[in-house]
Symmetry: C2
Subunit: 252 residues, 2 copies
DNA sequence: CGCCCAGTTGATTGCTATCAAGGAGGGTGG
DNA sequence: CCACCCTCCTTGATAGCAATCAACTGGGCG
């Protein structure tokens, strides 16, 4: 069906063109051939925009789509209904994929909200399953993403289970540094995408403790912190403190 | 090709027949139609047996296959080469699937060793990928398993990040109880598949602390412990202590 | 029978949570 | 444009939980 395009259609079309997206290589399309990409692009329903603090999906919501972050940042977390206590599970930045937690029983098992105004590419699960059938490359990418997510969680478990607070922070700063490097940004100067409160929660410590650890790292001339702006002064020392090898670029 | 079967062949054939496996419904075949199952069965290369303390695969090993536990129990863990420190990531019991951690880059990212003599069904990844192409049911099961694994990790992160030691133990005992129930065993009397050392490590505490928490639970008449034998006396109280809803049957 | 390892129990230290108060931006309204 | 407030963050003092060190107990196994 041929159809006239007005300006609106045109602009919509363009934002969902993976081909021109700077994140192409780290997102789903990264493992797709050009032919496959053509088919794939047609199935992204749209780019959705969510405002700061707005929820993308919540625990118990029906799995409707998987998402790729195009711009902005979001956090995922579990909330215990009884005592209002929450655990931040991860921070997700451009290029990250979201929503796999809903594959278990078609219901999301965690909440995801935007930490700032963000844009996400939405890929409805129905389309996704069909695409998996016809695009071998997509299955491969999918499996890689799953593997990455698992590895990331392993790392988080190690961090929470074995490290003390200073090590946890050092480890996370290195991880973030790797992320920015992998995206072509400076790996020594960057901004924390989240407030102290959330980062402390994620790292399993009190906000006060996080603040003290930042202060300690500054005193040791390892980093400088000004509000959310981080400058890594001594990567080696940070590594020594982290006691963990930064095995792979990752964002949470 | 018709071929004479000797006793050996026959027994080998039978152990890889998913159709007759008591774990069929919780394993890969659970989501497959009868037709699909026929195709699937042919691709399991073999049932492998590993002895206690023997390694199934290690970090850095090439991803060769995914595995389903048929009998026994194994643990997965990360080891930090620098300080010999390890973090147990999970305990895996019959019906559980293993090996997805290697999907990221075709290399396993953790170690897996047997806690007792065990049997596992091995499904080479090459076969697996081919099967995914032709068996929609397998893709579905695969996605479910992935979702489960993610949910389980979320839960573990919550446990390690937010709970104190008693809550962690209570939560884990309930989880184990759910597992046994889902497999048709008693949910109030069961054996711990792992030594104290490993359980303490998994739960992010010192073995001495674990011992004290067991003692505390016994003193509160919540459970009785004799070596590895656990009897849950008061499920409700255990629930209250755990501060977490047992959302789904899981084994780690 | 005795060794050895797993597990328990006790005493102490130390890290981190908690409670409390003070300071610094950023936004809003006057 | 300034004052105010509110949130985020930092800093200090205290308390509590769990790690560590150490000694002991009891099975399992050769």
């Amino acid at each position: 069906m041929v159809k006239l395009l007005n300006m609106n259609d045109l602009s919509k079309k363009q934002i969902s063109k993976c081909e021109h997206c700077s994140l192409r290589h780290v997102c789903f399309p990264g493992g797709l051939s050009d032919d496959e990409l053509g088919i794939f692009e047609g199935s992204i329903s749209k780019v959705i925009k969510i405002k700061k603090k707005q929820k993308l999906f919540g625990r118990g919501d029906k799995l409707h789509a998987v998402y790729a972050i195009k711009a902005g940042s979001v956090k995922s977390f579990l909330t215990n209904p009884e005592d209002e206590q929450t655990q931040v599970l991860g921070f997700h930045l451009p290029g990250d994929l979201l929503g796999f937690d809903g594959f278990a029983n078609q219901l999301h098992s965690c909440d995801v909200v935007a930490m700032e105004d963000s844009q996400l590419c939405e890929l409805p699960v129905d389309n996704f399953e069909q695409l998996c059938e016809i695009l071998p490359g997509l299955r491969k990418v999918m499996m890689q993403q799953v593997g990455n997510e698992i590895s990331r969680h392993h790392s988080l478990v190690l961090t929470l289970g074995k490290m003390q607070t200073e090590e946890r922070l050092a480890t996370y700063l290195l991880r973030l540094s790797c992320y920015y490097k992998s995206r072509g940004y400076s790996c020594t100067e960057f901004n924390l995408p989240m407030p102290r409160h959330d980062l402390a929660n994620f790292l399993g410590m009190a906000p006060e403790t996080l603040s003290r650890m930042f202060a300690r790292l500054e005193a040791a001339k390892v980093v400088t912190i000004l509000r959310r702006q981080v400058v890594i002064l001594d990567v080696q020392k940070l590594h020594d403190l982290s006691h963990e090898l930064c095995r792979q670029p990752a964002s949470d």
